[in-house]
Structure formats: C-alpha cells, structure tokens
Amino acid sequence: MKIGVITYPGTLDDRDAQRAIRLAGGTPVPLWHADSNLKKVDAVVLPGGFSYGDYLRCGAIAAQAPATQEVVKLAAQGLPVLGICNGFQVLVEAHLLPGGLIRNEKQHFICRDQKLRVENNQTAWTNLFEKDQEITIPLKNGEGGYIASKETLKMLEAENRVVFRYLDLNPNGSMNDIAGLTNERGNVLGLMPHPEHAVEPGFGPDTDIAMRSGTDGLKFFESVLKALVSA
C-alpha cells in the first residue's frame, strides 16, 4: 500500500511520517506541494511543521497548493487523509474540516507527551484502537487552540466526529478539549499531537514499562493499512 506524504516549503516532519509508514508496513511516497500528481497513492499524510513560515495564517497558503487541491478532490471520493499539527491546520484552511486553530491560550509553544482519549475508533486512521482507549503521543505546537462556532461544536459532538480529546490537562485551550476530529465520512482525520513521533521503542514517550517505549502512534498507520486492505 502506497501512502503519500506531502512536503511543503517549511514542512518539518515529512521524513518522520515516511518512517512511521514504513514501520507500520506501508510504502511511503514523497509528494511535492507544487505537483498535483499524487502518484496514485492509497492514502495521504499532511505532516507537521511550519509551511510557508505560518505566513498569513497557519496552513492558509499550503491549503492553496496544487497537491492540497488534489487531496481535497480525492478526499471527497473517500481517499484517507491524515493531517498532523500543521497538516491539521492545512485541512481546516482547505475546508476539509470545520473550525479553526488559534494561538495557544497561555501563548506558549508547548512540547510534551500528551495523554489522549480515543473517542471514535470508526475512522480510517483509528480502527485498531479500542473505544475510550487512553494513548500517549507527543504534542508540540504554538497555535493549537481549536475553536468553532457553537453550532459547529454541537454538530461535531452529535455526529461523534471528535476523534481525540485531551486528557488530564488541556494544553492549548481547545474548545471541548478537542485534540482531533474527522469529516462526515470518517476518511479525513486532523489532530494536533504527533503520532509519527511514537512509533518505535526507544524513541517514543515514556510508559510505565520503560522509558521512551511508547508506540501508540504506530496504530494510526496500521489502521489505515487495514482499512485499505479491507476496502
């Protein structure tokens, strides 16, 4: 299975995402933002970083890129899309997901191992998690405060589209503790924390068993491979 990873000018975590895909058993395919040819990939990851230096608004310029516009088209046909951090901001700016992301409530850039609760395990990227499972993956952002109108929030909650919620503490002031959400169809997932940084023992978050042994992020990529096989 081929999973594309789009690199924009200013993207940082494209290599980590590619590595995560490889460790999960998929074939990563590097994609370039200016190229609308997505090389017939079976799924796409929009990785984290600071595309275009966060100019105008985080993710706003990347949302206009030819590759992103192609993703928007194919997402409507069911292509699984995962937006991580800046990728989440791109998805929001490209109107694949509702709402917006603003500067963290306390105005600090935050970097920590973040506990999350899996609220929805029916998406292309979360089907290997248990419902209400608690996972820990790294979080690192400056503009991760999720906001949306009251009506949008109500709709997201009613349709079970909040996929991850922050546990123990809300690091950035996100409404309803929202860490990640999906679209109506469940093929597009955006979240602020970074699953691709928790895929290999020795390099992930600490767990009760051993230091740096957390690999909860790997399930995201294994989930999409499973979804693609059974599709």
Binding site: L56, R57, A60, E93, G99, G100, I102, E105, I147
Partner: protein, 124 residues
C-alpha cells in the same frame, strides 16, 4: 619592508592597495536609497483590513495593552491588533478588481472562523 599598514596586510598574502579603501568609502557614501515607485505613493492600491473576531483572545493586543499600562497609559483600556494588506495593481483599478479583492478578502486573505474583514477599499 618593516613599517606601515601595507606591510601588515600583505603579510597575510593579500596585496592590497590602501587607495582601494578610500574609493570604496566614497562609493558607499554616494548612493542615496531610492524608494521604488511600486512600494508607496502613486501605484493604484486596494487595501484590505482584517481584525481578529471580537470575542476571541488577541494575544498580541493583550501583550501590547499590558506594556502600555506599565508605561503609564492608564486611560487606554484595551488594544487589538489586526492586519492591513495592500494589493498593488499595474493599471487603474476597476470595479471588477474591487469586487475580486472583496471575494479574495473573504476566501483567502481572511478566515471567517477567527477573523472579520473590516474594510476593503481603493486607496486614492
């Protein structure tokens, strides 16, 4: 050669005629920075003004407001900071240009979840 700066420099293997420096210095002082005509002034422009939504926290504004208070400006109750975007045009601005700019202001230049377009106007 024992004396003088020429010797000092040439010892490093770079033969330099000190006269060059004099010429350089003179050249540096001559050019006056000319403001490009397309930056300010006569170029036709459309101005787009964008503000963060009223009910959202504006961290920049809050920090500036606090600084102003510390500096004794007790009568300034709050500060909010938005954006002014200038669109420069090659030719005279038409009504269609203005309409297009208004559409761009709503779609790309601002995000209606977090910002309001306050004004789009031709600068004369």
């Amino acid at each position: 050669m024992e004396c003088g700066k020429v010797n000092e420099i040439s010892r490093c293997g770079i033969p330099i005629n000190l006269g060059v420096f004099a010429v350089l210095r003179e050249n540096l002082s001559i050019p006056k920075l000319v403001r490009p005509a397309n930056r300010r002034g006569t170029v036709p422009k459309i101005i787009v003004e964008i503000m963060p939504k009223q009910d959202l926290l504006d961290p920049q504004g809050k920090a500036v407001s606090n600084a102003l208070h510390r500096a004794g400006n007790k009568n300034i109750s709050n500060v909010r900071i938005g954006k002014r975007i200038e669109l420069h045009f090659e030719n005279e601005i038409t009504d269609a240009d203005l309409e297009n700019a208004k559409a761009l202001a709503q779609s790309f230049l601002s995000n209606d979840v977090i910002e309001d377009v306050v004004n789009v106007f031709k600068e004369v």
